[in-house]
């Protein structure tokens, strides 16, 4: 009985939010493509979470010390030359690669790697971008100018070349790719947030907050930024797909994942020379990238349509 009361209280408290969410879901449901996007993304996420249960082979994680003495954890897959380059079969759903590893398992675990990269890069870039853009937009004046010039400088750094430079200087690894990407990914977010803030801060509720004694920081983080967020949300969802493509691309050209890791871009790269006699090697990782990026894009479009205030009701 108590549980029911608590549930009742909860629903009452959040009644409006629930109504809002229901309405958004309704709008969302009406668009087939957005639902498609959501399903694809959820699918990939679930695959990544349940990877150990889906895959037939599993990687082991080994600690490795590089020449410079830095310790890192690397993925290792067991090699079986007997089974190399087998076509898809009930035992190996996606076939095997040139080291006899089960491609299905590698694709499934690759989902983890890829999602990890996407989320980390985008989330951290967003945090940096929001803080810097927020401060610039809200406080204005010289602070705004300084931060914006810094943003401009970072914007002019070519991401690909930076990643290459970082890889050659510090060795190739997924982590380095992520760091390089974060470096160049936050400026657009800073700009978007700053632009929104310039208009949001003219609202009277911002003045009202100051009139009741809120400090500038409170006003910025509690009032201004939450209301500036929606265009950013759309951009973030679309960027998840973009980051994935970039990271896969970097792995493809040999700058990202270390060899032996199950990473989709890397797999495509390795599969290139076997493309004509073992089509499954490049096809399935490629399909995985395609489905995931498509999912993010459709989802992003859907979110944008749903949060567009003009299309409401």
């Amino acid at each position: 009985m108590i549980k029911l009361r608590i549930l009742e209280e909860f629903t009452k408290k959040h009644e409006s939010k629930i109504k809002d969410i229901k309405h958004m879901l309704y709008l969302f449901r009406r668009s087939f493509l957005s639902m498609m996007g959501l399903i694809l993304v959820l699918f990939v996420i679930l695959v990544a979470i349940f990877a150990p249960f889906l895959a037939s082979q599993h990687p082991s994680f080994v600690e490795v010390t590089s020449e410079r003495g830095t310790k890192r954890v690397e993925e290792r897959w067991s090699i079986n030359f007997e089974e190399k380059l087998l076509p898809p079969s009930p035992k190996h759903l996606f076939g095997t690669d040139d080291y006899g590893r089960d491609i299905f398992s590698m694709v499934v675990y690759g989902a983890r790697t890829s999602l990890k990269i996407c989320l980390l890069v985008v989330v951290i870039s967003t945090i940096i971008g929001v803080i810097l853009g927020g401060i610039a937009g809200y406080f204005g004046g010289k602070i705004d100018e300084v931060i914006m010039r810094i943003t401009d400088i970072f914007l002019s750094i070519p991401g690909l070349i930076l990643a290459l430079a970082v890889a050659s200087a510090l060795g190739r690894s997924i982590e380095h790719v992520m760091e390089a990407l974060i470096f160049v990914w936050w400026p657009p977010y800073a700009r978007i947030i700053r632009g929104q803030i310039l208009s949001v801060r003219e609202n009277q509720y911002v003045e009202a907050a100051r009139s009741i004694g809120a400090s500038s920081w409170r006003v910025l983080f509690k009032h201004v930024i939450p209301n500036s967020f929606s265009p950013l949300l759309v951009q973030i969802t679309l960027d998840l797909g973009a980051v994935l493509l970039v990271a896969a691309g970097l792995s493809f050209i040999g700058v990202g994942a270390t060899p032996g890791t199950a990473e989709w871009g890397l797999m495509i790269s390795s599969g290139r020379m076997h493309m004509f006699h073992a089509w499954w090697y490049v096809t399935f990782p490629g399909l995985a990238i395609f489905i995931t990026v498509l999912g993010f894009n459709l989802l992003g479009d859907g979110i944008r349509d749903v949060t567009d205030p003009r299309l409401r009701r």
Binding site: K12, K13, H14, E15, S16, K17, D20, E145, N203, Q204, Y205, E207, A208, A209, R210, S211, I212, G213, A214, R218, H223, P226, N227
Partner: protein, 327 residues
Amino acid sequence: MKKDTILKIEKLRKYFPIKKGLFTFSKDYVKAVDDVNIHIRHGETFGLVGESGCGKTTLGRVAIQLIPATSGTIYFMGENLTELNKSELRRIRPHMQIVFQDPSSSLNPRMTVKQIVGEPLLINKKLRGEALNKKVLELLYTVGLNEQHLYRYPHEFSGGQKQRIGIARALALNPDFIVLDEPTSALDVSVQAQILNLLKDLQNKFGLTYLFITHDLSVIHYISNRVAIMYAGKIVEVSKTKELFEKQMHPYTEALLLAIPIPDPKVKKKLKPLKGEVPSLINPPSGCRFHPRCTKRMPICSKLEPELREIEDQHFVACHLYNREIR
């Protein structure tokens, strides 16, 4: 300073500099408030009337130091606000609050009513949990809302209800003085009536003093005890409300009354529109700012600015027509 004066503004100026780029400041200023003197007595409703762009909104905000003044002094309950530092100002802030014009944009769309009305208590009195809940409910009841509304969002309410929420927020800290910036301009007639009645009741109940800013003369007539007319950053006339409607001294006040349509068809007057438009505050006309549009202007009006003087008992005008020394 008389004992019952709650707010005394002397020679107040607020100039906004016009920036022209990162390193250059042009010498131009928007002179929104230019040399204003006002006394507001404890417990009264002081009306401030003018058209948009005359500076009344800025004056309202500077009066409670939401915006810092450029020069001049503001005495509030005996303290000189212009000389206080940030933390001292924060101490005094609960005594002077403001209700904004647009109910839609004065409430944060992402906060519930409870959060909005509770925020001042959270920040200043550090109330939490049950205590906060209780006080918020009390405030809601005072303005005619109830606990059903606690967890709702602003967009679920009508304009009148939103304005009530704004008033509840302003009352949260038990202020003595409230600036009301066009609180009913965005509302329908019948809703406006409710809000005006509510404001009157609250004033009686809590002994509040109001600075009521509006461009609607009918509302001013109904609610204020004394009224000041503002034009292009300056106060041109101050008097008791009843008197102002019976006898206007400044030509602008006269024109204003003639320009405003009265909802009474029997009083169908020939609307005598004033020629010209509201002057720019960056380069206001020389001398008396109203002289380019004034039908009674004299040569001196373009040269010398008239001072606000008491011509009759508690009736002040800034106009050379009443300046006996000049005539």
